[in-house]
Amino acid sequence: MTVPILKQGDVLVASMQEALSDHALIEFRDRLSDQVGRARARVVIIDVTALDVLDSFATRTLRAIAYTARLRGARTVVVGIQPEVAFAMVQLGLTLESVETALDLEEGLALVGAIAGSGGHAAH
């Protein structure tokens, strides 16, 4: 099951539908990096609404994606982290430092100016 990546202008939106194995996550990371370059994307939005767990590996992968995207000139916004998942991440000591986050896809798009709105939470 691969993660669908949609292009909306210069914004790439990847919706993670379900738990990915480590190996599928790595495949996703590489494919997304590739697409960022090809599409000359300005923004990458990763929607994790459907994920019921974000463990250390998944978190590291998201950070790696953001890092690669930044090298190619794109911002990454992770959206849709659910309350229970955010809670577990923080208990586990995981951070998405330097990765921007927003409540959901709508907020994420607003944050990057793709749609009008009040935006999300910029990285510190």
Binding site: S21, D22, V53, S56, P83, F87, A88, M89
Partner: protein
Amino acid sequence: MPLTETRVPIEDEEDIVTARQKGRQLAAARGLSLTEQTLIATAISEVARNIVVYAHRGEVVLSAVEEQGRRGVMVVARDEGPGIPNPTLAMRDGFSTGNSLGMGLPGAKRLMDEFELSSTVGKGTTVTMKKWVR
């Protein structure tokens, strides 16, 4: 006293997802809240991944437990891998799971109510964790 028991063999990374999904199911059946289910699933993910990364194979045993009138879930992750040379160091907070170093054990401990680590170099490692219904 353990009740129903589910053994999930951990041989490759797909098993990590299986183990945590079964963990979540058991937690739900025991009456743990959604948040607690997520904590358990996340803790299982961490210890199961340790097995894959360090020992290559092992098992996660999920069971319903009851002690002194409390209902709960017990997760035992065991392997016959290389073992942890310095368990105290591995359990010290500050061994962040954010880096590629560190085994995520202090984090997993924070997620659960009870946590026990026993390891012998050359023999293997067993992590026993419990979470109780509040």
